[in-house]
Amino acid sequence: MKVVVDDVSVAFDSRGHTVVALDRISLRVAAGEFLCVVGPSGSGKSTLLRVVAGLLRQTSGDVRIEAARPGAPLTAMVFQEHALLPWRTVLANVVFGLENRGVSRAEREARARDMLALVGLSRFARHYPHQLSGGMKQRVGIARALANDPEVLLMDEPFAALDAQTRTIMQEELLRIWASLGTTVIYVTHSLEEALLLGDRVVLMTARPGRVSQVFPVDLGRPRGLEIRGSPAYGVLLEKIWSQLRDEVVRAMDADRDP
């Protein structure tokens, strides 16, 4: 297993009482797998990703990531709000992680240029983030993560802030990139359609406290494009997961309503 999340809980104090964000989550992700995590807001999907990324320390439990290549970072995250350094050019943003790890200039720039070519931004290497559209910034975010050649690529609702057309194109781009690199991906989204288009499996999480409700294999074949939306198998699976997700969303809304 590439990633093993073993009995992980996260609790924090909020105005005197303890809030359990994640409650004894266990997950296994195979090497090269594209795993999608879906759940209502407040189900702790982003928290889970941040624990795997090492940005947040779990209260209990264990996360193990298999390090196949020495020197490569375990994870690299694509943030929802891109989180690029505004004072760095596109190229300088993409090399940032390599620079921090002391990779030579020639090597890191060559690597960054490869990644920019992969996301179709070669012509924008010298631009600053504020000169780019939302979709282009997110491509830079993906290039920055991939340039680090991580064991696992983590994506936290990367396309949520994009308009519908751009999002669709970015999803197809991501599938193409993933197919060419074979990276292990954990992808958090609130969109079931997105999860079914991208994922090998869909993990459904419950409303607070976040638990794994059920795991659904997505047997829709590869390569996948938008046309799978017309297939009967897609409709059946969507309906099956949605009926469960709806219960969770309603539960989450009720929980928010209670004083």
Binding site: E81, L85, P86, W87, F96, N100, H130, Q131
Partner: protein
Amino acid sequence: MSRRPGWLAQHWLAVASPVALLIGWEVASAVGLLREAFFPRPSTVLIHLRRLVTDGTLLAHALPTLSRIGGAFALAAILGVATGLAMGLWRRLREGLDPVFAVIYPIPSVLFLPLVSFLVPRGETALIVTTAATSFFLVAFTTTEGVRQIDPLVVEAARHYGARGRRLFTAVLLPGALPFILTGLRLGLGYALIVVVAVEIVSASRGLGALLWLSWQVLKVEDMYATFLVIAALGAVLSYGLAVLRARLLPWAQDVAER
């Protein structure tokens, strides 16, 4: 693409209004609407300015002022940026110093001169330290805010990509705060000029402030106005110089500032 209109076509009002003011003044003094003894014609002032330049008086007074501004600005910039960075990074320090600064900052700096004269050698050093006071506070304030307004998500992303300690400071916090720091320096330089003139009026025999005051005391009103002009021009040059420096140092922040 259509040709952009020339600079003058866009900014004719900015040029026309001071010219109209000068012409109005000239006419008003010539026909006796303004008393020439107190409001000499601009043309007369220019003749006197030329004499001050050619007989070396102006240079003899401008050099001490420039060296005081230089010393005071360097002092305020170095101490102000260092203090501001420290206050931005450490909450405790900020909470401790904020009220003290808030009380001292609004006091007109000239009033510090007697106190400063007890603490440091009288004369040049006291003048420079007094001149630096207000600028120091301005630079420290803006630098503190500069550190605090950096997007925490950007800092988190930078950490995630391996920026720690010294590297986090030089590659993230410092460039992130730089637009604010440069704004503070520009304000601080302007205030250094204001205060140095005031301090020179109170306690110096050389300097543009001294020349201004001396001219007034002996009713050489034309020389007083000529000195006015020089001080105003100096202020404009210093401010413009730092604006140009800012544009060169911060290509990524330029568009935002000019919007």
